[in-house]
């Protein structure tokens, strides 16, 4: 039998190895070639830490059974849902799993705070901060999930909302102070419960007014917050693996959030506190010209005889699951020696890299995919720019119209192409509710329809072009 100190040492060693594997894993995930091995390294670290913790756990048999049962339930549910979810729904699944992590951190804090065994002020404060952040991340991520999943379709906004949210924040902090200082126990109020309830409400209230277009930034922010919460709870539990992994994710997630906000040319504060999309400035009058429709057969011929085609995919492609069809179309055109490139805006879709994942799923090679800086000069030499379900990321108003809510956002210069074909479901506005000046330009033709069926028609048209 191992002595208590040896168990302690072995456990800490396994956590150290796990933390190293996490960092190496994240490092390997930063290159497409080693990325899969990266997540597997991290997975080995996770498995090691979990197994060692379980093996050395000193617990009453009831608690032991509960731990095993809880792991089994959580793992099976997540395994099945994770395997089944379509690639297009990935962003909301990440939001969901992230929320679960935040909830777990809050639960650890709740156990610590409810038990009342903890009297160390530093630990109590750490537990409360981690619990607060975890609870906000939990309820906020669930709202983000519900929005992306289409369970909540409206952004709830009302006058003075910021002040209401600020009030909720202050009330939460007030209860947090009472919990930590111990004054709550004397007042007879269930301060710990109130603290968590208000933290959960704050997460909901913060996320509800945020428009769907900003969700990637928000999910990334909550990912960073969950990391921080885990780090704080790691301090409370003296668990180095949690401190390191949580902090690494907190820092990495913060950077990722900044990169995303920057790609949209907005500050994080702007995303969180401005009621974007509310501007009914739709009638800004900039959408000069009328939208001119085109038949798929004509558009197909135009592409078949083009020298250079640039495809700009957007969320519409993801919704219609059209990525395989688009690659089929691209291959047909490449066989006709048309130069085909895919132009990916950093915030196309619902997450940075969302489009890259979908195109990779369809088997599009990396070298055909270009990002904003690489491709923007090439639009001038392109015969056709094919916009599939993208809108704001190609809106020239962002360059020229100062009254546009997206003014200043870097865009793909699709309007510089000789011809523009836009596949769009209807004549309405895009996700953000802003008119798109591109659609009214002389060289733009609208191909109305679902991306999947429209691209299928284009394929037939290209084949027919002989």
């Amino acid at each position: 039998m191992l002595s208590a100190s040896m168990i302690q040492t072995l456990t800490q060693l396994s956590y150290l190895i796990a933390a190293a594997l996490f960092i190496l894993g994240l490092k390997r995930m930063s290159s497409p070639v080693t990325a899969v091995s990266g997540v597997r390294w991290a997975g080995v670290g996770m498995l090691l830490a979990t197994v060692v913790t379980l093996a050395f756990m000193r617990a009453a048999s009831l608690n032991f059974v509960l731990v095993i049962a809880a792991i089994a339930i959580g793992s099976v549910l997540a395994w099945v849902s994770g395997k089944r979810v379509a690639m297009t729904d990935m962003p909301q699944m990440i939001a969901l799993y992230n929320g679960m992590g935040g909830g777990a951190a809050a639960a650890i804090a709740a156990v610590e705070l409810y038990s009342g065994n903890e009297h160390n002020l530093v630990h109590l404060t750490m537990a409360a901060i981690g619990g607060f952040i975890g609870a906000v991340s939990f309820s906020g991520s669930l709202i983000a999930f519900a929005k992306l999943q289409g369970l909540i379709t409206k952004s709830v906004r009302f006058g003075g909302q910021k002040f209401v949210n600020l009030a909720i924040l202050l009330i939460t902090l007030g209860f947090g102070f009472m919990v930590v200082s111990g004054t709550g126990a004397e007042s007879g109020l269930p301060v710990v419960s109130l603290f968590f309830v208000f933290a959960l409400i704050l997460g909901v209230a913060m996320t509800l007014p945020i428009g769907g277009a900003d969700m990637p930034v928000v999910i990334s922010l909550y990912n960073a917050l969950t990391g921080l919460a885990v780090g704080f709870e790691g301090f409370v539990l003296d668990n180095a693996a949690m401190i390191i992994a949580g902090t690494v994710v907190g820092a990495a997630g913060t950077l990722l959030t900044q990169l995303m906000a920057k790609a949209m040319n907005r500050s994080l504060a702007n995303v969180l506190f401005s009621n974007f999309g509310e501007t009914s400035a739709a009638g800004s009058g900039s959408a000069a010209g009328t939208q001119k429709p085109i038949e798929a057969s004509d558009a197909g011929v135009m592409m078949a005889y083009a020298h250079k085609l640039i495809i700009v995919p957007g969320y519409g492609l993801a919704v219609a699951q059209a990525q395989h069809k688009v690659w089929e179309l691209a291959q047909l055109l490449i066989d006709r020696s048309v130069t085909v490139r895919f132009a990916i805006h950093p915030v196309a879709g619902r997450m940075p890299g969302h489009m890259n994942v979908l195109l990779a799923e369809a088997g599009v090679p990396y070298d055909l995919i270009a990002d904003l800086d690489e491709i923007n000069a090439e639009f001038e030499t392109a015969d056709v720019a094919l916009i599939i379900g993208a809108n704001d990321v190609v809106n020239p108003d962002a360059r020229s119209n100062k009254s546009s809510p997206i003014y200043g956002m870097p865009i793909l210069n699709a309007d510089k192409a000789k011809n523009v074909v836009v596949i769009k479901r209807g004549q309405g506005q895009g996700f953000s509710g802003i008119d798109n000046a591109l659609f009214g330009l002389d060289q733009t033709r609208m191909l109305y329809g679902d991306a999947q069926s429209a691209v299928t028609q284009l394929i037939q048209a290209v084949k027919a072009a002989g």
């Binding site: 930063s30 497409p32 990325a35 899969v36 991290a42 997975g43 996770m46 913790t53 379980l54 756990m57 000193r58 617990a59 608690n63 032991f64 509960l66 731990v67 049962a69 809880a70 959580g74 793992s75 997540a78 395994w79 994770g82 395997k83 690639m87 990935m90 799993y97 992230n98 679960m100 992590g101 777990a104 951190a105 639960a107 650890i108 709740a110 409810y114 038990s115 990912n223 969950t226 885990v230 539990l237 003296d238 180095a240 693996a241 949690m242 401190i243 390191i244 902090t247 690494v248 994710v249 990495a252 997630g253 950077l255 990722l256 990916i344 997450m351 890259n356 994942v357 090679p365 990396y366």
Partner: protein, 98 residues
């Protein structure tokens, strides 16, 4: 085990590490990487297990149980979706080579 100042050192070094690791990532890997870092904070599972193991009242057990379920979901779900996403990149790379 980990006293205050040492904890702060760990915190600082880990924060720099996280920043450095991400700062060289190409845009195309941002979503998988967000997913991957989401998986990594699933390590909260070991904390939740310890918390549940030490629970001594029904309320503690209920909260601890929920915590472990959620944490296991974070870890397993995070792993599954990250691996699925990244496998596609490998696939795409191979097709390109062939």
């Amino acid at each position: 085990m980990i006293d205050g100042v040492i904890a702060l050192y760990i915190f600082m070094l880990a924060a720099f590490t996280g920043y450095e690791v991400i700062s060289r990532v190409p845009v195309i890997l941002h979503t998988p990487l967000m997913s991957g870092s989401n998986f990594v904070h699933g390590i909260v599972l070991v904390g939740a297990m310890v918390a549940l193991a030490a629970a001594d009242t029904t309320l503690m057990r209920v909260i601890g149980f929920i915590g472990v379920v959620l944490a296991a979901g974070n870890a397993v779900g995070g792993y599954v979706v990250t691996e699925r996403m990244l496998k596609m990149f490998v696939l795409a790379g191979k097709k390109k080579g062939s």
